[in-house]
Amino acid sequence: MNERHAPDILPAQEELLSRLLDHIRSQSDTVLTLRADPSSSEEEHFRIMLAQTEVERVKFIVRSYLRTRLYKIEKYARYILTNPGVSSRISESETAHARRFARLTDQHFFSSVLQSLPDTQQTLDDNPPFVPPIVTEPDKSRPVFVHAIQNCPPVRLPDGTALEMTKGHISLTPFSIVEQLIARGEAELV
């Protein structure tokens, strides 16, 4: 759920994801084999149904996790690809997607507008003063609701004071402040 609330893209949980997918696969296989078995009792049917319900629930969560990542990748495709630190956070297939997506949008911009502009203005990554950059970057100062899972070391707030969160503390604060805590799993976004 962290992924949904964070403005920036978080490291991919590939191991967790593949474990979950394995579980889904084995559970659905069991369901299918049991289904095919005509001698199963009514009670077994019942368990099959419960197992299936759970598989669907987990699938839904996995799907919304992936969709959220996909949305962020498409939105920040160029930013992710130009920053090696950020591009190491996404999995291989996600990188491939980001690269293709960035190329497509580049081509589109070029053929529709950029090619008819003077040479000096044809790139997307120039940085004229007083104008926001063209490449979209995640807004790390966006506030988030953070919930401390355990006692956290104090973090520095923008106004200079320190915030020390004890277990169970909930607070609303800019994302950049708690980024480290989230990465270490000491706090979660809610």
């Binding site: 009670e43 419960l50 759970e54 007083f130 106004d159 604060t173």
Partner: protein
């Protein structure tokens, strides 16, 4: 594209309900079931009339098929809620309630109101509680500044309710604070 506009800024109450349904509740089963392995762990065996602990979604499922009675959690009864409500109205701070109480209470009231004593009274108490807390969270907006706002004991449903507005407000404040130093 990948994510509909409506759910980009926040999560929907239904999604919260889905997450809250992982909470474990006590039930009194009316059927027996062997111990079964699920993705989130193994539950069972169910042996009527021995109480067992299973996730809320499973309990809901069994309840809708009239195969169990849900034992309401110890905070979902009139005395406890009444006490919380008095606490809520007499002190400025939020009172201590389970983090996902709103969702769990809703699910249980929806599917298993016959397992509760006096569900209508509980419903109205929950509603009063919600209104009292809502008024407080609106007041909290006055204390909002650009760096931090502590919200002890706020629940997931309430956070979700105030999220879009509070985030917007805080972003504006952040911009206002940053501008004088970073400006030309």
């Amino acid at each position: 594209m990948a994510l509909p506009v409506s759910i980009r800024a926040s999560v929907t109450p239904l999604e919260l309900e889905l997450i809250a349904s992982e909470t474990l509740v006590d039930i009194v089963p009316l059927i027996s079931m062997e111990k079964t392995a699920f993705i989130s762990g193994a539950y069972g065996p169910l042996r009527p009339p021995v109480k067992s602990r299973i996730p809320l979604w499973m309990a809901t499922n069994l309840k809708l098929k009239k195969k169990c009675h849900i034992v309401p959690p110890d905070w979902l009864n009139i005395e406890f809620l009444q006490e919380r409500l008095t606490h809520e109205t007499s002190y400025p701070a939020f009172s201590d309630l389970p983090f996902r109480f709103a969702e769990i209470a809703k699910v249980i009231l929806d599917v298993a109101s016959d397992d509760l004593q006096n569900p209508d009274k509980i419903r109205s108490l929950l509603k009063d509680l919600r209104e009292a807390r809502q008024a407080k969270s609106r007041e909290g907006l006055q204390k909002l500044d650009h760096s931090e706002l502590s919200l002890p004991n706020l629940c997931s449903m309430e956070i979700n309710e105030i999220r879009p507005f509070f985030i917007q407000a805080m972003s504006v404040l952040t911009k206002l604070v940053r501008e004088p130093t970073a400006g030309p």
